[in-house]
Symmetry: C2
Amino acid sequence: MSGNRFFIAPDVFANTEIIFPREISRQIHSVLRLKAGDLVTVLDNEGHCRQVEIREVDARQVIGSAGEIFPAPGEPGVELTLCPALTQREKFEWILQKGTELGVRHFVPIITGRSLIQETGGWNEKIIRWQKIVREAAEQCGRGLVPEISTPLKLADYLNRDERPRGYILHEREQHAGLADSVMRHLSTGNRQIALLVGPEGGFTEDEAGQANSAGLVSVSLGARILRMETAAMAACVICMVVAGELGSFSVAVRS
Amino acid sequence: MSGNRFFIAPDVFANTEIIFPREISRQIHSVLRLKAGDLVTVLDNEGHCRQVEIREVDARQVIGSAGEIFPAPGEPGVELTLCPALTQREKFEWILQKGTELGVRHFVPIITGRSLIQETGGWNEKIIRWQKIVREAAEQCGRGLVPEISTPLKLADYLNRDERPRGYILHEREQHAGLADSVMRHLSTGNRQIALLVGPEGGFTEDEAGQANSAGLVSVSLGARILRMETAAMAACVICMVVAGELGSFSVAVRS
């Protein structure tokens, strides 16, 4: 499949003649400078992909002919929910971009006692911006689905959710349990859903860690050095994915 | 030991009365706003640390009394050399910062056919800037040593070096060998030195990968998704460190 990938709405995807929406048309014409005859891949964000041969290129509208429908590749076999504390814009957007590349399926921004951002409303505009970041990252790295982003939640509200995957809270006071070992045991039970809670700069308070533990989240350590929040979030995602065999083969990876 | 750590020159470190250099004095006075009686940790970048009680604080000169000399904690048991292709400034500096947190011991910037930066001279000013970045990251995360940064080298010159650790080249064409498995075998031989070569956006050319393989570097994959250069560099560091048991306990970690 071609390296240029675009997520488009399922109704557009369903036609043999694909009329690309304006934003993607502009990108194909002005940024990528593709020509008639070039191939791109379209995905419907419901798990399917098709190769499209471009027929007409215009800054406002690109038209192409789509081939057969295939299952979209690129989704990890692990459903990872990353819950990072809200922090300054660049750092947070960077976590969204890197997390998407590393295979995160759901992002749940959380508001904790020490989170740099404490607002509890007015998220619509931010979420639209965040969605654009994860869509572009998903297109670039070859994901089959665009990760979902929840409205930011207070930690207590996240913990009170009826449906949430079993998971781990990165806590510097934890001295023993390592994330890799815990994830290995987790996956060996056949459970493919994992949640990871990553605190803000300054970490979770003891009280917050206690609440999370009471709600079933296991405290884990990332070792002796003090990682910045974004480094810790990414390292935790890498650890989950490598243990699951999703970042190159891993002989002790547990397959369900 | 106190959370505020500073690397100072060994000759200053050797005295019981520590007269902090100007830049650190300014930081203690104006940024951290520490007072007489507060404790900081000093390191000599030769593997030792001491706790220092601040006696006099001035923007130009801070004076403190140092206690006993201890071995500095915080250095991983693996000596990781990260060789990232030169790329745009922010991305490269980010790799230096995160690599330091994750435990990289030596950075060797390399110039490859597709590197965004191709200059081969005038590095002095850049290296001074880079050294400041890794020193601050090492202070913040609790390393015992400041990572070393080599002058940038052409890939061929790196491969021709007499002394270089056994290592791995991240290559997208590699389909089978995973980095984690390879590092596990590597460490099981008792060899604690590892080099990681990370190509620029666009990757290594086939020719470059071939040269690296001929020079004994093993091609490894980071899985099915296409990671940006900086994501791949960090994921590779995380994988080496978690396998070595340096990012939280890891039950299959190989200890020499």
